[in-house]
Each structure stands twice: as structure tokens, then as C-alpha cells.
Assembly symmetry: C2
Homo-oligomer: 389 residues x 2
């Protein structure tokens, strides 16, 4: 089957910034697309061939949407996996496979998968309800501090909390969850693995993620990570092990901890293009969105190495502002060499909302990192209306 | 005025591949767009906010289209310049300026502009009608061989012919034209100059264009050109001289001849993104489409140097085929390192129609050029229906 300028139709569940950037690549290759998103103002509404407003968790909405596609993919994990299973059974190709999504959608299941596959990850306990943790603490089953994670719908700092005492525990919702040992890591790293439907794999270079101390959001992503080659090698091997155990088709972003002893532990995974791979648009021979397309279409995978070193800065809504967005200082950063802003097209800002990102490329990673800090200082995502919460 | 995620609207006259690729950049910065093109299936129909089907040469259509834009630009020169003048007078910003377009739309006027500005160009004579050339030949005013060019609407090999004898002359349309001395050049080169509304300029590296011997179309573009640094320096200086004499805002692609004596002569110019700059999407720190936006919006210009050397191959319809397009061998070239195809999205192929292009990047320009020849051999733009003209 030919995908290019043909009647072949790719369905994409989710129309956020990841979907929007994926559409640059479907346009580049003239691949017909259908996108579904709950928001009528989704960033991916433009540039797809057909846009459908619908609830991604609704069985019937996903069934109705998927039936008219030749191949379905996602740009967000929180979709109705049962509908995807039924669509797959009816002959629609679905990548990543519904079974892969089901493992990833539930963090307890994700951790059990690591354990069963012999993949290094932080020790954890699993609870049907948060309230059971108190018993476990009394029995000495676990001890403070630990990381509490809701099993379902953890995304971008929601559903994750470091619990240091009984007080921290009290505010948490009483849901299925895990308690994970707090890893005193040296770095947080990530590796993106591409795997196509023929089982061919390629890994991108290891990147280093620097987190915002309060928002628990990635602030900078550096490619390559400033780590010894041996550690990078181990990180790529672990990521490949996850990819092969999972047998996914498409991209798999593997977030990792580098411990004080230079061990690599898997933190979380996402079976799709990922924030930690945005640098690849400017930095890599094949950007992650093109690579995802290549993988799910069963095309040969592209080169994953870098043309130039890169640092990515997330542009998030400044604290204290809520309302129609204004990018203050954007013109200033455009005057800096090697700086490319990406504006996702969300009309309203709110504190810590991901509104865009900026890539800074430079032959020197240290200079790129310095310039990234300068970018961060000069640009602010605000609103004309001040927020007085 | 803020351009990003705002109500500011950019109008683009023309919706072909250049418009389509410009829209990747307006999407990247969430800039609102209106596009007009005569074809309902124009490649840029998707990904703009509003598409209007209309005749670009029709005064009223251009007036109606332009009134609702804050800034107008073009992706093709053949637009109604009088309408643009009137829109400019009514307060709409128009870049490139209508006066610049008027110089460029007519090849006789273009040549007179070079002469008046002291810009090196091949000697020429100007004729109100092709039939006048015969008199000039009899009087010894000119001699065979020469290059005949229609003054109006020359584009992509139409309206240009090398005239070697009286026979060649007879087939030509009897229109306003020029007869230009045939330059026995060593290379055809091009330089893209960006100039923003504040008068800041930046030049891209000199590229080398290799032409298809029959179709008079560019087959390969190499960046950088394989020429001595002194010649490259001179080419950039001449291009800057054209840019400054013209005072355009936006990109200016300057096509040049390098003579046997290493002189640089201006051949033709285009005030917009250009085929000779497509390599910049993969090769340059700032691609030409983003640069055009920066220039017309009065933003700081981006870096014009290259991340990696690049060769661009045009994908044109194969001879003997006409009808619904099929890209034979596309999967094969995707397996080659550093190869990125761009499919414009035209539904029907015909001989020599520009259907897409492929960029090949590699640290070595010679290896990139070799791989480009291989790409050219492996891919063919055909149709399921054979053409029996």
C-alpha cells in the first residue's frame, strides 16, 4: 500500500501539541489524516484532513472515529483501550498496540511489567487504595519518604507526590496507587527507542532532563546528556530492553534515573513522541515525529544521531497569569543565534501549562545550555489579565 | 503588535508548494493565515486558517482577499500588482512591495533595473514584439546564438528559449521579449538574501544549481557550491548589491552565472522563498521559510549558515506519465541515510511537473551528491495510467 498522496488514512487520537507536530510530517509526505480531540480549539485542528470533536475515553466515540481509518495511532495514552482492541480485532491496524497501552495506562501494571521482564526499576508496593498505605507503614512494609503515584492518569506532575510524613499522606486521593522508593538520583535521563512493525529498532542519543523544582515539570532537555559514555551505553541498553520486552510499534520514550552508583533504573515510559524528543526537530537527522510515522507505517527507520547539539526549554504559563496568552520577549529571543521557538497555539494560559517550547542549537552543549537559561529569563508566557488567585 | 497566537492575519497570495512550506512556519509560531489560489486542490489549502479560491491576476479578487489581512505576501510573482498597490495605499502592509514585484514581473524591466543600478548582467536587447528581432539580426544589432525570453510570465523553463538559428526563432510567440547574449558559464549559482523591514540583511551560502539538460529545470542544488571562496565571496556581494538596490522586504533569490573568467552575472531574481533554498529546511540553522516570515514581520533575522552540507533533488513527473500520481521507490530512498523526501500533495502528475523534492544531508558534499544521484535513479514519479502522447 502506498501512503503518499493516496487514499490511505491515518487516524490520530488526541490533537494537542504532539499531534500538531506529527501533522507537520504527515503534510510533508502528503498523508491523509483524521484527528479526534475533546477540544474544538485543539492545536492539531488545522492541518489535518478531518477533525472530529470527541471524548478519547468514550468507547463509542473512539469506535466511530477509528472505523474510517486504515491505521490508528495516539498522541496521548489516555484513550479508550478497549475500543482500540475491538477496532484491531475488526481489522484496523493500531500502533502502539492496545495491549501496550493497557500496560502503560496503569502505573501499577507498568511496574509489574518491569519486574516480570527483569527491567531495573525502583522497588515499589502496590495498593488498591491509598488508605492501605497507613497499615503498610505501621507494619514496616514501607517507610517515609516514598513517592506516591496514582495508578491511573498520572500525567505531567499530577498524580505524583513525594510523601515525607503522615501529613503529606493525608491530602492524597483514596485511589489505586503505588508507593515507590525515593531514588536519590544523580540525573534524570531519557532515551527514545523507535521500533517499526518489522521489529527493527533504533535508539536516539541519551538526553538529560533538568526539572523545575516546584512544578515537577521538565525545564530543560539536553542532547546529548553530560554523562560518561559508559553510563549512556547502559541507558540505551536498558531502554532497548524495555522496547524489546514490550514489543511496541512506534516510538517509546523511556525515562530513566541514574543513581549515585551509576545504575540505571526505569522511571516511566510513553509509547509516542515525547517532550524529551522535541530537540530532534532542529537537532537530529530524523526528528521524532517523522520517526514515529516511519515506525508505524513499517517504513525503514531514519538516522537517530544529531546534526548539532541541542537544548530544549519548555515554555509554560507563568505563575499569576490566566487568560488570553501573550508571549513577552519572544522577539528578543529571536535575535539570539540558533534559537527556534515553537508556539503550540493554545489560546489561554494558566500557571505551568505547556504553551510551547524553544530549541537552542550550538556546536557546544555548554554554550547551548547557557543560552537556554538566557532564553528562559527573557521570555515569559503571560496574559493581559493578571490572575489574583 | 504581537503576531503569535493573536488576531494578526497574514495573507498569502498563491497556495502551491512554496505556500505549503511557508505554512509549516506559520503553524510553528501560531500565526493566523489566509491563502488564495486558483486551484481548489492547492497544496496549501490545508494548514491555513482560511482558504479562498480565486484568480491571482484578477484585480477585484486580490482586493477582496487582501482587505482582511494585516500583512500580505506572495509565494508566486504572477499576481495583480496594481491591486497590491491599491491595498498598500489603503494601509495594508505588502511585502515584497508592489513596486519590487513590478520590476520583477517584467523581464525587460528587470534587465533595465540591473543596468541602471550597475549590476553585472549579460548584455541584452529589448523588443516590443519577437518579430522585431529579425530586423535586429539583419542590421547586425544581435547575432545567433542568443537567449530569447518572454518579458512576461516566464516561469520554470516556459518563456525561455535558446535561439541558434532562424528556425528556432520562427516557433516563438510574438510578444514583448528580450534577446540576451548566451553566456558560456562554468556554473549556475544562487544566493538567497533576506532583508527585513528595518533594512537588516543576511545572505545564505552560495549554492550551485545543476540543470536537467532537456527540461531546463534545476535537477540538483548543492549547498555549499563547489567553487573557490573568492568566487563565492563575489557572488554574495553581487546578490547583496541587488538586494540593496531593490530595497525589497522578505527573501530575494538571486540566480547567477559564473563565467569562464570567474565573473559573476545576475541571471534572474525572485522576491520570495525559492527552489534553490529548499535544502535549508534540513541544512540550515534558519530555513528559508522561517527567514521569510522573520523578514516580512520585521523580526530579527536568523542565522543563515549550515548545520550540515546538503543536496536537493527535484522530484518531477517522469516523461510518459500523466494522471493520478504514484511515487515509485519512495520506500527505497527512505532506507538511505540522511534522506528526507517532501511530497507537495499534487494529485496528478505530468511530465516535468514539480511534484516534490528530496534533501540529502551528509558531512561530505561529495558523498551527498553521489547519494543524490542514487536517489534520482531509485525514485520515479509515475501514474498508474501510462501516457501515450
Amino acid at each position: 500500500m502506498s501512503y503518499f498522496s493516496s487514499d490511505f488514512t491515518l487516524g490520530i487520537l488526541g490533537g494537542g501539541q504532539l499531534g500538531k507536530m506529527l501533522l507537520y510530517e504527515t503534510r510533508k509526505w502528503d498523508i491523509r489524516t483524521r484527528v479526534m480531540d475533546p477540544s474544538a480549539e485543539a492545536p492539531a485542528r488545522l492541518a489535518c484532513n478531518t477533525f472530529i470533536q470527541g471524548d478519547l475515553m468514550d468507547y463509542q466515540a473512539v469506535m466511530d472515529f477509528g472505523r474510517d481509518a486504515d491505521l490508528l495511532t495516539i498522541e496521548i495514552e489516555n484513550v479508550n483501550a478497549r475500543a482500540l482492541e475491538d477496532l484491531e480485532a475488526s481489522g484496523v491496524r493500531v500502533y502502539p498496540q492496545p495491549g501496550v497501552l493497557q500496560v502503560i495506562q496503569n502505573k501499577a501494571r507498568q511496574k509489574l511489567f518491569y519486574r516480570d521482564a527483569g527491567i531495573p526499576t525502583a522497588p515499589f508496593s502496590r495498593y488498591a487504595y491509598t488508605s492501605e498505605i497507613s497499615d503498610s507503614l505501621r507494619n514496616g512494609g514501607i517507610a517515609f519518604p516514598f513517592v506516591w503515584k496514582s495508578a491511573q492518569f498520572g500525567y505531567d506532575g499530577q498524580g505524583v507526590k513525594i510523601v515525607r510524613n503522615a501529613e503529606d499522606l493525608r491530602g492524597l486521593p483514596n485511589v489505586e496507587c503505588i508507593a515507590e522508593e525515593l531514588v536519590p538520583f544523580k540525573n534524570e535521563l531519557a532515551v527514545i527507542v523507535a521500533r517499526n512493525s518489522l521489529g527493527q529498532t533504533r535508539t536516539y542519543p541519551v538526553v538529560e532532563m533538568e526539572f523545575h523544582p516546584e512544578a515537577n515539570q521538565v525545564e530543560y532537555v539536553l542532547c546529548p546528556a553530560r554523562i560518561p559514555e559508559g553510563v549512556a551505553q547502559k541507558a540505551r541498553e536498558v531502554a532497548l530492553q524495555v522496547s524489546e520486552s514490550l514489543g511496541h510499534v512506534g516510538l517509546l520514550a523511556v525515562e530513566l534515573f541514574r543513581t549515585q552508583e551509576d545504575e540505571i533504573l526505569v522511571n516511566e515510559i510513553a509509547p509516542r513522541p515525547h517532550n524529551s524528543g522535541h530537540y530532534s526537530i532542529e537537532g537530529s537527522f530524523t526528528n521524532q515525529f517523522e520517526q514515529h510515522l516511519r515506525a508505524i507505517l513499517g517504513l525503514p527507520l531514519g538516522q537517530t544521531d544529531s546534526k548539532v547539539t541541542a537544548v530544549m526549554v519548555n515554555l509554560v504559563g507563568a505563575e499569576g497569569y490566566r487568560g488570553p496568552v501573550h508571549y513577552q520577549g519572544l522577539e528578543d529571543i529571536l535575535a539570539m543565534p540558533g534559537v527556534t521557538p515553537h508556539i503550540y497555539g493554545k489560546k489561554e494560559t494558566r500557571p505551568f501549562r505547556k504553551m510551547g517550547h524553544v530549541t537552542i542549537v550550538d556546536p557546544s552543549i555548554d554554550r547551548a545550555r547557557e543560552r537556554a537559561a538566557e532564553v528562559k529569563q527573557r521570555i515569559e508566557v503571560v496574559s493581559k489579565k493578571q490572575d489574583h488567585e
